[in-house]
Symmetry: C2
Subunit: 328 residues, 2 copies
């Protein structure tokens, strides 16, 4: 086992913490020396394709951080590199492994709120704008590279919300429309975003703002989520609390789902990796293999086209539809 990183200082600290002997600054050297069974790629997105190819050529199974690539063409190339090398590839998409979304999915699939027709996911906080508690904006202090990202909120964070919407509704969106805005002068990308996604039997409103003053201090445990169905309502609060309210002829019934909120953020990463390992071991499908995850990325990138052109963008995009052999 080993770590390869451009930054030997952080790599060494990480290696020591997890008792990993080998540290490299060159991933080519690392792969040649380690001959790994598995490569976990968490390099910057613009390096993903090169690193997927490197791992694929070495015959390693691949877990790659989202977004798989910054363009659909590169993401498809990464998927094809893995396929051609006969190695398995999963995109690391941890939000759907958060315990409240797993509990929500189980409840939805059991028909607890009937047929869902509406989903809303929203998170609003002061991340790119200063407050008295955080004179240096909270998100920018934590992730300084946010300042320079030309595509910030949707590509970095709302990609999770899109993925969770697909996951929970168990369906593919047929269109997306987005309105984006840059509010803080300290970023170049959007820090305010509202998206609507049309699904075959529902629509979803996904929103995120890091420019909102007056809400609870970050970090937030979860987006606020609601799914409305023909039999009731499912909601996730900002602290991860998950509730179902059902309505029948005999009355309203509220129930809090059993969700372990302890250390849920870290556990969602562990659960993602555990899913990867279990699927490799058992030969079962990844939830977020390329065929699945290209849909999330496609909707994410289409949101930017929508905002730029002032259009409703069809999904899958013509580019992805052609690849999938789907008529649009």
């Amino acid at each position: 086992m080993g770590i390869a990183s451009r930054n030997p200082v952080t790599a060494k600290a990480r290696a020591e913490r997890f008792a990993i002997a080998a540290v490299y600054t060159d991933p080519v050297e690392a792969v040649a020396a380690l001959r790994p069974d598995v490569v976990d790629i968490c390099s910057p997105v613009e390096r993903h394709l090169a690193h997927v190819r490197l791992a694929a050529d070495a015959g390693a199974a691949i877990l790659c951080q989202k977004p798989l690539a910054a363009t659909l063409a590169e993401a498809i190339a990464a998927a094809e590199a893995a396929r051609d090398a006969g190695v398995r590839l999963m995109v690391h998409e941890n939000f759907r492994f958060r315990p409240w979304f797993r509990a929500a999915k189980t409840a939805l699939d059991a028909g607890r709120i009937g047929e869902p027709f509406y989903l809303r996911s929203d998170l609003r906080l002061a991340g790119t704008v200063p407050t008295a508690r955080h004179p240096e904006p909270w998100s920018l202090a934590r992730q300084p590279f946010f300042r320079q990202m030309p595509r910030l909120l949707v590509l970095e964070s709302m990609i999770h919300q899109i993925d969770v919407a697909r996951f929970l509704l168990g369906a593919e969106p047929t269109a997306v429309v987005a309105m984006l805005r840059r509010v803080s002068p300290d970023v170049v990308g959007e820090d305010l975003a509202s998206l609507m996604l049309r699904f075959p039997s529902a629509h979803a409103v996904l929103e995120r703002s890091y420019a909102t003053l007056g809400e609870a201090d970050p970090p937030a445990v979860s987006e606020e989520l609601r799914v409305e169905g023909t039999g009731g309502l499912l909601r996730v609060l900002r602290d991860g609390t998950t509730e179902i309210v059902t309505e029948t002829a005999s009355g309203r019934r509220e129930e809090r789902l059993d969700v372990d909120l302890d250390d849920a953020y870290a556990r969602s990463y562990a659960a993602t990796i555990a899913h990867f390992a279990a699927a490799l071991r058992d030969g079962t499908p990844f939830e977020t293999g390329p065929a699945d995850n290209l849909r999330t990325l496609d909707a994410t990138l289409a949101a930017y086209r929508s905002a730029e052109a002032g259009t409703v963008e069809p999904l899958p995009s013509p580019e992805l539809a052609a690849l999938l052999g789907i008529a649009t």
Copy 2:
């Protein structure tokens, strides 16, 4: 003073309640007999143009219920009829006269939350779907004609939310996109709607659902509203409570605005009529004269085109822009 109504029973009851002597079933007869200074039109929308013309020909000032017409062409014809007859016309738009929205507007115009960049307005309740408390759906029991309206939520109710967004932001939307859905089998029009409006320096998300189970029983006092600005947050809760949260270098400050919630629904009608009367008396402009209100109607009708065609619709529409002499 007199009342004209197709239904002499309800007209007579109303006349007795307000000590009005004259009741007619034919508005032509009523106008001929009464020679009124003012006509308050609250007939079904498809009769508005005829009744505006009738009142205009009689030289009466006109207060006409929203929507002014079901099509932009008819609304423009109504405005032209009033103009050509030299009588004044105001559209009865009571939501912007609700006391919390007046208080919000005053606070926004005073710069209390800085520059607004986002507005959200939402109301979700069980109106077209049954609950244990309302086995006959609440909205359908109250307004049985809702069942047959081919255009329900946006034209009937969200037109108010569009008007309030324009009022509060003090700007005109440049585009609208809508996703609509019919959930209840007991209606033919949409009972679930999500709209996004783009403004020059903000965007707005307007939503409404009468198909939502699990929320507080109707009626609701107000839509939930939030306006986010560069200096803080303004929010109106479902009970009309209105709060401002500001953020400065010295900290967060929460303030509840002084809003009299007593009987606010009825008072918003009285305030609308009082504005009409005062503007007539003083010769001052109506807030919601045709030039203003055509913008609200235009966005309302464009929302349907957006939902039907799957497009983002520019505002003003080409039709209204041509009338206004605006290049699009």
